[in-house]
């Protein structure tokens, strides 16, 4: 099965802390920071490392400050199992 890994970059200086992204995140990986940005708003931060790159947060963000990245990693599949080999053997894999 392919594994999907995502990541987001938040422009914290433009964040107004409305939490709409946190409410729409299916993985619950966003939360308000206790720190403030230069405008005096608590900004949103990613607290979990389980992002799937679904873009839900970026779609509902009124200020368009979230960049979303997604990568699909394919697992290495087993081609063949070789057992009870006696003597020399040559294996050629065409991929």
């Amino acid at each position: 099965m392919a594994k999907v890994k995502g990541d987001i970059i938040i422009d914290i200086e433009k964040c107004k802390g409305c939490e709409l992204c946190a409410a729409s995140c299916p993985q619950d990986s966003l939360e308000l920071s206790r720190k403030l940005n230069s405008k005096g708003y608590h900004y949103i931060v990613k607290i979990e490392d389980n992002c799937t790159g679904c873009t839900n947060c970026a779609l509902v963000c009124p200020d368009g400050i979230i960049k979303v990245y997604r990568k699909t990693e394919k697992k290495k599949e087993k081609i063949a199992i070789i057992s009870n080999v006696t003597g020399d053997m040559t294996i050629t894999v065409n991929s």
Binding site: K16, L59, R70
Partner: protein, 278 residues
Amino acid sequence: MNEKTMTEEQHYADVIAEESICTNENLVFEKTNVLTDTPMHYCPGCGHGVAHRLIAEAIDELDIQDKTIGVAPVGCSVFMYNYMDIDMTEAPHGRASAVATGIKRVLPDKYVFSYQGDGDLAAIGTGETIHTCNRGENILIVFINNGIYGMTGGQMAPTTLVGMKTTTTPFGREVEVMGNPLKITELIAQLPGVYYCTRVAVNNPVNVRRAKKAILNGFKYQELKKGLSFVEVVSNCPSNWKMTPVESNKWMEENMFAFYPLGDLKVPANQPAAGKGE
């Protein structure tokens, strides 16, 4: 020793570079370049920001940035021309559709849209709106309905729901005194000049995707020159509804959607529907 630490650092740097997926080839969502980098002045959680972005994305997708002229209204979105990297003008209160008519008639090969709120389009500009729609001008009207006058401090608008508290109706809107809320989208959907009429919302990712499709269709139908496209966006106003953004979206789903049901009101024949599910 020093050499060894250097190589270790390099090794970790390589590992980090490998693990980070924030590269351009993996980028799946970014703010479009049609929106400028100016921070928006809207309150936290306001639906105007999403509506602006959807219009910008539609312009970007159709590649009509240099052929689009927008008309900003009076209201919270009066500074819309600061946020969109296209040609825009500013109309007097309620007259955005009339100004858009003039621009479209002088420059018929341009894509013209007006962006209006409910106090602008449904109260002061009712006459202009209805006659623009009845004449069937080839423009797109994006109507933001949040049931309140946002910029002036939360007064009652024609679209305010029955029982909704505003600064001019502190005990809730009464039908005997203030009349019934106005469903202007249903009103203009009957007019023969209107080619496409739909109601969308921007409260969750599903509705945002549908809203984008509707706005995209509105721009596309201008090429056909068959009439006006009207997209109503049911939005929120956290500041004047006196709620947090998340609460206001929930309140909107429970109360606004009951009176203003989402979906297409008028879809041209042989054209794909946008407001309904994918």
